[in-house]
């Protein structure tokens, strides 16, 4: 579920904007730090810290988008790769120097700790909370993109930028907003995931492969696709690890390999989206 929350933001920026954003994990990390540090130093409660992380990172990403990303929208993918990797290096070094190389930990509020008895099975409370949060997020996003005016505009701008522009849509501002949304989602993912994935300056590289896999399997720009892909991969990984721990992470990769060979556009991707 953590995978979903972080990856959905990536799907938004990469799929909708067509930008190869390898720095996405970096935004998740920044968000995680903003959330953890604001709780530690200002005593913000967990939900307020999440909101703070979302807006702080969204604000930072707006600046970065205008300064760095916008000039490269029409450049090749490879130049975009170079830019975003450079950005990740910079983020890592900045955090290492300013906060330190050590791991940051989240102090969860009491009501999110321990086990919850669901009647038929005991389950980790925090995981349940994540599932609820993830589902809510997915519904909200789906609604936002498929059923509102802004969502329609974004989709229009992605499909045919020039046409959208001539229809009076301010594509530049729209993209900035979309990017801010994607990065903000990453930030929330970083904060929520810190409990399980940990949080230290190496975060963006450590989980890059996972995020990309989820997006690829789900299909670019498909929010529901990413949702189901994250669940599918998460559940299969969990089950296989219980029964065949020797295989380690082998399964996740083998699985992705097979899935992508069978469905190159992702499980739920439209033809021609990638």
């Amino acid at each position: 579920m953590v995978l979903f929350i972080v990856s959905v933001g990536l799907s938004v920026t990469m799929g909708l904007m067509g930008f190869v954003n390898l720095a996405h994990g970096g935004f998740a990390m920044l968000g995680g730090y903003a959330i953890v540090l604001s709780m530690k130093h200002w005593g913000l409660p967990f939900p307020a810290a999440l909101a703070f992380g979302f807006f702080a990172v969204a604000a930072v990403s707006v600046v970065l988008e205008r300064l760095l990303y916008a000039p490269l929208y029409r450049a090749t993918e490879l130049d975009q790769v170079l830019l975003t990797i450079g950005l990740v290096f910079t983020m890592i070094a900045t955090l290492t120097l300013s906060v330190g190389p050590e791991t940051q930990t989240v102090e969860l509020p009491e009501w999110l700790r321990g086990q919850t008895d669901l009647g038929f099975i005991e389950y980790r409370t925090y995981s349940l909370a994540l599932i609820v949060a993830g589902t809510a997020l997915m519904i909200a996003l789906w609604f936002g993109f498929e059923r509102t005016r802004i969502g329609a505009r974004i989709r229009a701008a992605v499909d045919n930028r020039r046409m959208a522009q001539s229809m009076g849509v301010d594509v530049g501002r729209l993209f900035t907003l979309t990017f801010a949304l994607g990065s903000g989602l990453a930030a929330i993912g970083g904060g929520l995931g810190a409990e399980i994935l940990g949080l230290d300056p190496q975060y963006p590289f450590r989980y890059l492969a996972y995020f990309l896999i989820v997006v690829a399997v789900g299909g670019l720009g498909r929010i529901s696709g990413v949702f189901f892909a994250a669940i599918l991969i998460g559940v299969l990984d969990f089950v296989l690890k219980i029964y065949f721990p020797k295989g380690g992470t082998l399964f996740i990769y083998a699985l992705t390999l097979i899935l992508l060979l069978a469905r190159p556009h992702g499980l739920f991707g439209k033809k021609g989206t990638s």
Binding site: G198, P245, K246
Partner: protein, 406 residues
């Protein structure tokens, strides 16, 4: 156009090289040069910092340790544990900086890859962490002041039967050499004393922290008396503790035990109340009550802030510098490689981890292993000592297991 690039590259290189040679030309003959290879960036950056601080604390608390001899420390980043980066760093320290001694080495691959260089160049290498047991057999120039996975693993196996009174155990380990070493060591110690290991669960690689829930669920279903866990010190350990608490394994009567890597002091407070009751075996924890340690902890907190603490890696850095100071003063500032290694053989020292010495035969460390239980005291987690096994050698080499056979 390529001319320009090459010229530019060469000009850049020339400037850099000139700068380096200026530094080395400035050194005085009586100074001993020490090359330090640690990960200052990447996954091990936090550990690099800890060892580095330990070394500095030794210098600060023992200003007279080097006598009249000056020591010049040259630091190099070993980056990520590929071995190759560390090897290039060592090669340059030897070839360009002409260092007399080498030290550092957090990750085993870094030490393993560099061993042949130490032999070839005849530079004594004092290892401050790298815990794969057979490293010391790779070169006669290597001496280790840290530990091998067998120290704590074997001792824990013995103590699990004798002190914790366990009969069955499940072992969960991170699937890389220290993890497997730890598994083997624990199994040897546990089963030699009448226990039985009923399941072995590899729990992912060291590169990323997995979600431990599925592995712990499997262990819980086996219902052992104790669950012995080895994961790399750091984020993995926090994940282990949180999962242990969240799955309610304590309520199910399964005790969590392990080597002290999982209760590394710098991570301990972050583990929260889940860690209470955890029993570990290790050669150091910051709550050891000896006077040398009290002095170190106090000075450390003064230097780096009250929230910081030395941990076993910091103390290894501290003791490593002590060993180097011993070599430098014994040889009167003139480092002859063979004499340096001989000076280390049998060296005894009163360390923050209690009495330690270097085994003259294996050049590996001999030290106490402390069994401790996490308790809550004055609002913080505290490691209460509940037993000690004195003068523990690296059991891998004592038993001649696998590659440790000499």
């Amino acid at each position: 156009m390529n001319t320009k690039i090459w010229n530019r590259a060469n000009a850049l290189a020339a400037v850099a090289f000139a700068a380096c040679s200026l530094i080395s030309a400035g050194a005085i003959a009586q100074t001993v040069k020490l090359g330090v290879v640690l990960p200052y960036t990447g996954v091990g950056a936090e550990f690099g910092q800890q060892v580095d601080r330990g070394m500095q604390m030794f210098m600060k608390l023992n200003p007279a340790a080097f006598g009249p001899y000056k020591i010049e420390i040259i630091k190099r980043d070993s980056k990520n544990p590929s071995g190759a980066e560390a090897k290039v760093a060592v090669q340059e320290l030897v070839a360009q900086e002409k260092v007399d001694l080498l030290t550092g080495f957090i990750y085993s691959p870094d030490a393993i890859a560099s061993a042949s260089l130490a032999t070839e160049a005849k530079r004594p290498m004092v290892i401050m962490n790298a815990g794969t047991a057979w490293i010391t057999t790779l070169s006669p120039m290597i001496s280790r002041v840290s530990f091998s996975m067998w120290h704590a693993g074997h001792a824990m196996g013995e103590a699990a039967v004798k002190i914790v009174k366990a009969k069955t155990a499940v072992v969960g380990y991170t699937d890389f050499p220290p993890g497997k070493d730890s598994l083997d060591a624990f199994k040897r110690g546990f089963e030699a004393n009448g226990g039985k290991v009923i399941d072995e669960i590899p729990m992912g690689g060291p590169g990323q922290v997995p979600d431990f829930t599925p592995f712990f669920q499997r262990a819980k279903d086996k219902k052992p008396d104790v669950f012995f866990v080895f994961v790399p010190a750091g984020d993995h350990a926090i994940g282990v503790m949180k999962t242990y608490g969240a799955l309610g394994m304590r309520a199910a009567g399964i005790k969590l035990i392990g080597p002290g890597d999982i209760t590394q002091d710098i991570k301990l407070q972050a583990m929260g109340d889940n860690a209470v009751g955890l029993i570990t075996m290790h050669h150091y924890n910051a709550d050891l009550a000896n006077p040398v340690n009290k002095r170190l902890v106090e000075a450390w907190k003064k230097e780096y802030g009250p929230a910081s603490t030395p941990d076993f890696m910091g103390v290894q850095g501290y003791d490593g510098m002590a060993a180097i100071a011993h070599v430098v003063t014994t040889l009167k500032g003139k480092i002859d490689p063979d004499a340096a290694i001989n000076a280390l053989r049998g060296w005894k020292y009163d360390s923050p981890r209690g009495p330690i010495s270097i085994d003259p035969r294996t050049r590996d460390i001999v030290m106490n292993e402390y069994l401790s239980e996490i308790v809550k005291k004055d609002g913080r987690l505290y490691q209460k000592n509940i037993g000690v096994i004195t003068a523990v050698k690296d059991m891998c080499k004592e038993l001649g297991e696998g590659r440790c056979k000499q």
